[in-house]
């Protein structure tokens, strides 16, 4: 079962785990990314190109499903305004084999950072707000997967 969503609503990790697990056995690897409150950040705003992010997430999910033997795959990304501690992204990958689940999860989170059309704006407690510049580190990590 592949489940992919871009949503403005809060990500309910417990509910997603339940949905994802339905009937599945074996190994599940997950990644949860949360908003960090570094440097006095008070809001993270994520903007996306809906048509392109939807296509990007779908392509990514299918690339993982082609590459590894997966029983279930969940890819949820939040957009809009978030506060520190909020979950931005959730990846769940299940497989009969732990190495497949772990590799798929890592692949998906690395690729999400570069393949999905998202822009981040950070607002700090002193009122300063700025759009985040693209980071080279993410591009390097994603390239490892060839």
């Amino acid at each position: 079962m592949i489940r992919v969503a871009m949503q403005a609503a809060a990500i309910d990790v417990g509910a997603e785990l339940d949905l994802h697990d339905a009937g599945g056995h074996g190994a599940s690897a997950s990644f949860i990314g949360r908003v960090r409150g570094d440097d006095g950040l008070v809001e993270l705003f994520l903007e996306h190109h809906p048509v392109m992010t939807e296509a990007g997430l779908g392509d990514l999910a299918h690339a993982a499903a082609d590459r590894w033997q997966l029983a279930a795959l969940t890819l949820i990304h939040r957009v809009g305004a978030m506060a520190p501690g909020d979950t931005i992204v959730l990846v769940l990958a299940s497989s009969p084999h732990r190495s497949e689940a772990l590799a798929a999860c890592e692949f998906l989170i690395d690729r999400l950072k570069t393949d999905v059309m998202l822009w981040k704006r950070e607002t700090f407690e002193d009122g300063r707000a700025a759009w985040v510049e693209a980071r080279m580190g993410d591009e390097v990590r994603a390239e490892r997967w060839g």
Binding site: G33, H49, M52, I109, K113, V116, L118, W119, W131, A134
Partner: protein, 85 residues
């Protein structure tokens, strides 16, 4: 030629709108020409497109390089490099 243009992130903020429909003058046939035309059109365009090398573009949902032709395009999206998930 009528063209839908959408803007994202700081390009959207500088343009003051998320999208518009423009009537392209004859001769504006590729992305590079489009950016030059928008930069020359008004103060907002000048601010948003002063550094065209910082702009990325997609035509009908597909990423395109600066020389991509506009013929047949329904929507052009203009935005900064993405900052990931």
């Amino acid at each position: 030629m009528a063209l839908n243009i959408s803007y994202f992130a700081w390009v959207r903020e500088r343009m003051g709108t998320a999208d518009e429909v423009v009537d392209l003058p004859v001769g504006i046939t590729d992305l590079t020409a489009l950016l030059s035309w928008l930069a020359a059109r008004d103060a907002r365009g000048a601010l948003a497109f002063a550094e065209p090398q910082r702009i990325r573009a997609a035509i009908d949902g597909v990423m395109m390089g600066p020389g991509a032709p506009l013929a047949g395009a329904r929507e052009v999206a203009l935005f900064p490099p993405v900052t990931g998930g």
